[in-house]
């Protein structure tokens, strides 16, 4: 059962991730990316990381992807074949990777997935609290650095978008 659920999520993620680049209508690409985000969130739920699943949906599906859709619609991009002529290059890169993967799978012994083993944290534990504790103790420095980088990006966006009111006039 657990393997079946994982297989479903992983399969859909793989297929939709491929469709994002393969579909010719950009709006459909964005939608398949949406489906992919949903299934990634589903994977988090099977790992009992409900907090991450919710954050995944709020941040990626709810905010970032809506802005993508916004841009795609504003640009009114029609079906575009320009980027579909590169499949030979893509195949040249990807076929060796696929072969490597198959070799790895054939060579390695298949252990039962740790995702569904017995020692997982139960649904009763508060994983939001656990994440907060880890983030603000063990990973405090990387966390602060990341927030600083985001702040810089934010100021950069404001500087780029801002018009000089005093000089040339808005």
């Amino acid at each position: 059962m657990a393997q079946l659920v994982f297989g479903y999520f992983a399969g859909v993620i793989a297929v939709t991730a491929m469709l994002v680049v393969a579909l010719r209508n950009p709006v459909y690409s964005v939608l398949s990316l949406l489906i992919m985000f949903f299934h990634v969130a589903g994977l988090y739920v099977t790992l009992h990381a409900e907090f991450l699943a919710a954050v995944q949906l709020i941040v990626y599906a709810g905010a970032i992807l809506v802005l993508y859709l916004f841009v795609v619609m504003l640009l009114n991009a029609k079906q575009d074949d320009r980027y579909h002529r590169q499949w030979r290059v893509a195949g040249f890169v990807c076929v060796p990777l696929l072969l490597e993967l198959l070799v790895l799978f054939a060579g390695g012994k298949m252990e039962p997935s740790p995702l569904f083993s017995a020692d997982q944290t139960g649904p009763g534990t508060d994983n939001a609290k656990a994440i907060g504790m880890t983030l603000f103790s063990t990973y405090l420095f990387p966390f602060e650095v990341a927030s600083l980088i985001l702040l810089v990006a934010m100021i950069g966006a404001i500087v780029l978008a801002k018009r000089d009111i005093g000089g040339s006039g808005a």
Partner: protein, 357 residues
């Protein structure tokens, strides 16, 4: 029947009951809105169908059901069909974690269920926010797929508005989450039992009054209601993103809007006004020696609080004119957002100073 099958059956029953309650509430709302607006404008409201017009929602439903289903020329048929569903599903799915009544458990043939909440998950409120943020897709795709300029502009406006105000909703409820120390709506509601000054609107270390005001204003904006109904501003955009919709698909958008109103009202009642808790400790039925009937009183209190917010929606609609688009954005980012952020800081300091209250 196996245990899994029984659990499945019980959950389906709960879901069916909740969906029926929500749809009935929406039916009542469509009538109540016109009646309340009528009274506020010194009119009678609908009076023709049934005694005093109370069968008007059914007349509306039948009319929408039998209207011709039109797909405009040049529309993207697949997305045109999918958009109303994408708007409707997120509006209904959030009700799964709303606690309607006391936190009881009932054992049914060896399976323990909570009768008044479909699923008590530990990230309840985040779950609602996650799915509420998906409602924007239905609106924006509906606007785009219609192949109409008015619809597209309405959809784009809506996307910008929903994203901006979603942020304020999320930040406004963080104060309550800090006070409750939990994301589960069941636990948040349980923590507010007792006298009404235990409600998080008035709770001791940090009353969430400002957060409450920010939440109410932002949720009105998030549900695209007057005075923030820019996506469907009649004077500029005909009817905004659902200009081209008719019949049942239009009914889906309509249903989604009203279900969203009910949902944000339920969240406001559960997070700020104590949910199903009465303003006094315990219940009257307990004092009368009928504790098994206490749930009636509790659910009635929840309904009363929810309907108070729904009345507020109508009241605002009858009172305020529509904002201009730049006013809307400036208000959201320059007024609501700083208030919500300041509330988080103040609440955190208060909880740090009074950790045990």
């Amino acid at each position: 029947m196996t245990e899994l099958g029984l659990r499945f059956f019980l959950s389906l029953t709960q879901i069916a009951v909740v969906v029926v309650i929500v749809i009935v509430t929406v039916l009542i709302l469509t009538l109540a809105e016109r009646k309340v607006l009528g009274w506020m404008q010194d009119r009678m409201g609908p009076m023709e169908v049934g005694p005093y017009g109370i069968l008007q929602p059914f007349a509306d439903a039948i009319k929408l059901f039998f209207k011709e289903d039109i797909v405009p020329a040049g529309a993207n048929k697949f997305l045109f069909t999918a958009a109303p569903l994408l708007a409707l599903i997120p509006a209904f799915i959030g009700f799964a974690v709303i606690p309607w009544g006391p936190d009881w458990t009932v054992e049914f043939n060896g399976t323990v269920i909570k009768p008044f909440v479909i699923s008590d998950i530990n990230i309840g409120i985040l779950y609602i926010l996650a799915f509420a943020s998906l409602g924007a897709y239905g609106i924006i795709l509906g606007g785009w797929a219609s192949n109409s300029k008015y619809s597209l502009l309405g959809g784009l406006r809506s996307a910008a508005q929903v994203i901006s105000y979603e942020l304020n909703v999320g930040l406004a409820i963080i104060g309550v989450i800090i006070l409750a120390g939990s994301l589960s709506l069941v636990k948040i509601t349980n923590a507010q039992s007792g006298w009404f000054w235990h409600w998080y609107l008035f709770a001791f270390p940090a009353p969430q009054i400002f957060a409450f005001v920010v939440y109410v204003i932002s949720s009105v904006a998030e549900t695209n209601r007057v005075p923030f109904d820019l996506p469907e501003a009649e004077s500029e955009l005909v009817a905004g993103f659902f200009t081209e919709y008719s019949g049942l698909r239009f009914a889906f958008f309509y249903l989604a809007e009203y279900a969203n109103m009910v949902l944000v009202s339920c969240i406001a009642a559960a997070m700020f006004l104590g949910g199903w808790n009465a303003p006094y400790p315990g219940t009257v039925f307990d004092l009368l020696g009928l504790p098994s009937l206490a749930w009636i009183e509790n659910t009635m209190w929840f309904a009363a609080k929810t309907y108070f917010f729904l009345f507020l929606f109508f009241w605002l609609r009858a009172t305020l004119p529509r904002l201009r688009y730049d006013q809307l954005m400036r208000f959201g980012w320059k007024v609501m957002l700083p208030i919500a952020l300041a509330n988080i800081v103040v609440t955190s300091i208060a909880v740090y100073l009074f950790p045990n209250s």
